[in-house]
């Protein structure tokens, strides 16, 4: 077990740097004048841009391997570089945005997991009957409805008409509280910071802003969880111990909840872990629609301007997260189910 964990951890930097090297190799197709687009952002700015000077100033004409080794060298000194699209240090920018996305993903994971598992159970128990069909279609529609259509319609109804769930991260008054010096930012996640600071009003305000993106995201992922739960449940409902339990005359709901579902949840737990990662990465469009300033938006802006220090920084972040989450999931899986051998 220890051997396995050590091996995985050792592989982490290999995979992470392999990933950034891959991106850099793609970048090789770009000319210095394409890379300069990070600094000259629109046709209107051409009016005062001397492209040659800028290329020289930012060393964009250096061969790609030279730029890559510069970048790696800087990382070894703890410096991820400067992002011209976010006007900030890459590390600082990611650190400032990541808590927002993490907060969103954590809140979204709860209804996603509970709703998905519940819908999957309903579908499995009613296998090939009416409610099986309804839940599946309901979930697949969520999966296939373009995210921003759902998001915008949600905003129209719950923001414009009802005034319940506004876009953004906080209302103006709450922003004022959060930026005041007496408010300590422990985590960068406003809802948690608010509790730690004893500001219930800010906590509820942050939650209010999270509802829209959370519902959008969880509806999106229900279909995946439903499918996994459903097939896993179907399998376990046929197992001997379930039949035994039924034969013993236990109530059906007890059989389903205590016996069948508990065992069916093992593979589901694995995919919830992976889906959490999907949540962290899958927020680009949701964040745009709800004007939620997290990593997703940052990724898109950096990519569109070919801001390679930022793109590479984000790749490192995700590669690291992915390896870590996988590790946790695998270990957890091994602990739950000793039959799994770790090769």
């Amino acid at each position: 077990m220890t051997h396995y964990i050590v091996r995985r951890l050792l592989l982490l930097p290999v995979v992470a740097f392999g990933a950034t090297l891959l991106i850099f190799i793609f970048m090789q197709f770009l000319s210095p004048y394409q890379l300069v687009s990070t600094y000259v952002r629109s046709p209107e700015e051409l009016r005062h841009a001397d492209l040659d000077t800028l290329v020289k100033k930012y060393h964009l004409d250096a061969p790609f391997y030279e730029r890559y080794f510069d970048w790696v060298g800087n990382i070894l000194h703890g410096n991820l570089g400067w992002s011209a699209t976010s006007n900030d240090w890459v590390a600082h920018s990611i650190a400032a945005r990541f808590p927002a996305t993490l907060e969103l993903a954590i809140y979204a994971a709860i209804p996603m997991a509970l709703g998905g598992i519940w819908l999957g159970t309903v579908a499995a128990v009613n296998h090939n009957r009416f409610w099986d069909h309804v839940t599946r279609i309901f979930a697949i529609i969520g999966w296939s409805l373009p995210t921003f259509v759902f998001g915008l319609v949600f905003l129209m109804v719950f923001y414009v008409w009802l005034g319940w769930f506004p876009p953004g991260r906080l209302s103006t008054w709450a922003t004022q509280v959060v930026i005041s010096p007496s408010f300590h930012a422990y985590t960068g996640m406003y809802s948690i910071d608010a509790l730690l600071n004893g500001r219930l009003d800010v906590f509820f305000n942050a939650l209010q802003h999270l509802v829209g993106p959370v519902i959008t995201l969880s509806y999106l992922y229900w279909a995946l969880l439903l499918r996994i739960t459903r097939s896993s449940m179907l399998e376990s409902l046929r197992q001997d111990y379930v039949r035994t339990a039924r034969a013993k005359g236990l109530e059906e709901s007890v059989v389903i909840k205590k016996h069948a579902r508990r065992n069916a949840l093992i593979p589901v737990a694995t995919s919830v872990g992976l889906m959490f990662l999907g949540l962290l990465a899958g927020v680009i469009i949701t964040e745009t629609v709800f004007n939620y300033p997290g990593i997703g938006l940052l990724t898109y802006q950096a990519a569109a301007q070919l801001d390679y220090p930022m793109v590479l920084g984000i790749c490192l972040l995700y590669a690291g997260l992915l390896v870590l989450v996988n590790l946790v999931v695998d270990i957890g899986y091994a602990l739950i189910d000793p039959r799994v051998s770790l090769d």
Partner: protein
């Protein structure tokens, strides 16, 4: 068993009922109409500042933030673009009051006493001197400081000045390794250009420069006055003669003022959460009296639909709206829309007179054989004229821009009415005349063979896309053998192709740096102009011979009448030679809640002025 499945089903039922109910129940309630956030302004914009350093900033979003935090020596009189009022100077220099010398090369500004900076320091003439000297020495690449250096030093950049002093060409100069003598000489020239005498700050110009006051006036972020002591404490140039190369042309991250701001203006920078918003709070010690608004939230909201909803609910007081979406805000209750605002801006389709044929996918075969265009295609004046006749201004402005634009007379926009000859002819949509011109082009050969080419616009700009498509469709109407394809080019690729000179025809806009027509004829028509110089050797030769002397006349003369005549002549030449297709001068608009009071328009101002605003029913 059956019962239990029913119970689960019942759960599912409730679940759906809840979802459906919450989705349906909602069409009833409407948002209230009282003033939200009575002492704040929430401003939903796209884009955000690139830097807050006045000497570095060269985009309107940065200029807007700097405008509200800093003051300049002088300001525009309300909506005017040519009348000035005093600001940190107590008088506006003029020939009449003697503060501008007769030769137009000395400007004297008496500095106001007792003005407080936001950190409590008092403004002195030394701060003013430092501001301009630092700007010239900072000299950021592709930055705004050429506007200060050119009139004061006679060179747009320090690199050019150093090259001149060393007797070499500018690309041979390494600014980090200048000889000590040159470093000193540059410092001397810079400090000699701006002097302090008592309460006065005196500028010595290298040559008369008519737009100089406009370059200093409020709205010109590069001339915003900073505090010397504070700036040095942040790590900016320490004011010593020998150290400035260390501070010259920094990377943005190495510029100590890029995210900090402290001026004499009406608002303090509270925080700048990059990528999301910046917050300004009222400076109660403002010398003109405190602002009526306490807090400003300038939020970056890229999605139009979200901005629109924020406006409708009253969560945003002012939002940015692109013209096609104006109908969606115009009829909203409690919203005021001001549109058709003339701006100092235009959009132009540029011809490339010497298309680089190497590996060029945009010109077909590269020959005049019906399957491409030759590299000198646009050197034929008949081709250029014909293309001008192909563009349907009326439909474009009416349908695509919904009337939010004006047809240009030439490079100078009509917002500077005095310098635009509105009696002069312009091209208009005329397929017969286009055919006539095409028939004469290349001695009639073009009409026989036809041509094929690809014209480009940058991805995402739908108005420009339509302009390209209209040209293509109309060309095909004139002669089916004229095949124009339109192509969206992503911005990075566009930059590369533009640099390589392979785009036969491309659309770009120009936004004024300061309200003087020189700022339009120079980039468009001068042989060294930002755009003219990229249009091929043929254009450069033509400009050098015929345009440059006239352009020099407009900048070396202070007399408006003389300048006007030169601008008229340039407009005429631009028409006769059909140098480009002048597509449109897009109008601006302003969308606010009706409870926002006090707004007025000034085309020079880079965005909003929060000091003039107040809130109330």
């Amino acid at each position: 068993m059956r019962m239990d499945r029913d119970r689960l089903r019942g759960g599912a039922l409730w679940f759906f009922v809840a979802v459906v109910l919450s989705a349906v129940a909602l069409w009833s309630v409407a948002a209230g109409a009282q003033v939200k956030n009575p002492d704040s302004i929430v401003y939903a914009m796209y884009g955000e500042p690139e830097t807050l350093d006045p000497a570095f900033a060269y985009d309107t979003a940065s200029g807007e933030a700097i405008y509200n935090i800093y003051d300049n020596l002088i300001a525009y009189d309300k909506g005017s673009t040519s009348d000035f009022v005093p600001m940190l100077a107590t008088k506006v220099p003029s020939l009449k009051n003697g503060l501008i010398s007769k030769d137009g090369r000395t400007y004297i500004f008496p500095i106001r006493r007792g003005v407080k900076f936001q950190n409590g320091a008092t403004l002195t003439p030394l701060d003013v001197e430092y501001t301009f000297e630092r700007a010239m020495l900072l000299d950021p690449a592709a930055g705004p400081t050429w506007m200060i250096s050119e009139p004061l030093l006679g060179y747009a950049t320090l690199t050019e000045l150093a090259a001149h002093l060393m007797g070499v060409s500018p690309d041979k100069v390494d600014m980090k390794k200048l000889p000590a003598k040159v470093v000193r000489e540059i410092y001397d020239r810079v400090t000699r250009a701006v002097e302090v005498k008592g309460d006065n700050v005196i500028f010595h110009l290298a040559k008369p420069y008519p737009p100089f006051l406009a370059i200093l006036a409020h709205g010109a972020s590069w001339s915003a006055i900073i505090n010397k002591k504070w700036a040095i404490a942040q790590g900016a140039w320490d004011g010593l003669p020998s150290t400035w190369p260390k501070y010259h042309d920094p990377q943005p991250q190495a510029d100590p003022l890029y995210a900090k701001a402290m001026g004499t203006g009406p608002f303090k920078l509270e925080t700048w959460q990059r990528g999301s918003q910046y917050i300004l709070t009222r400076f109660d010690g403002y010398w003109q009296g405190p602002a009526k608004i306490k807090t400003v939230y300038a939020k970056k909201v890229d999605e139009f639909s979200t901005r629109l909803m924020m406006l409708q609910t009253g969560d945003a007081d002012i939002i940015m709206v692109d013209p096609p979406y104006l109908p969606q805000v115009e009829k909203l209750d409690g919203v005021r829309v001001t549109k058709s605002l003339p701006r100092l801006q235009n959009t132009t389709a540029f011809f490339n007179y010497n298309i680089d044929p190497k590996g060029n996918d945009y010109i077909g075969s590269g020959k005049l054989d019906g399957n491409g265009i030759p590299s000198d295609f646009f050197q034929d004046i008949h081709v250029r004229k014909a293309f001008n006749y192909l563009f349907d201004w009326d439909s474009y402005i009416k349908q695509v821009l919904l009337g939010q634009g004006a047809k240009p007379y030439g490079p100078v926009p009509q917002a500077m009415a005095y310098y635009v000859n509105k009696k002069a002819p312009t091209y208009s949509f005329n397929l017969e005349k286009a055919a006539e011109e095409f028939k004469q082009a290349f001695d009639g050969k073009l009409w026989q063979t036809g041509f094929k080419m690809t014209i480009t616009y940058n991805t995402g700009n739908e108005a420009r896309k339509t302009a390209c498509e209209m040209l293509a469709a109309n060309a095909a109407k004139v002669n089916p053998k004229f095949r124009i394809e339109t192509m969206a080019v992503q911005w990075p690729v566009f930059l590369q192709k533009y640099k390589a000179g392979v785009l036969p025809l491309f659309i770009i806009g120009w936004l004024a740096d300061y309200p003087d027509p020189y700022n339009f004829v120079q980039p468009y028509m001068a042989s060294t102009g930002a755009y003219g110089s990229t249009q091929g050797d043929y254009f450069v030769q033509m400009a050098r011979k015929d345009f440059d002397p006239l352009i020099d006349e407009t900048i070396n003369n202070v007399d408006p009448a003389v300048r006007r005549a030169a601008f008229f002549k340039l407009q005429e030449l631009a028409y006769e030679r059909a140098i480009d297709i002048f597509l449109v001068e897009p109008y601006g608009n302003h969308v606010e809640r009706t409870w926002v009071k006090g707004w007025y328009f000034n085309p020079v101002r880079p965005g909003e002025d929060f000091y003039i605003l107040s809130k109330g029913e």
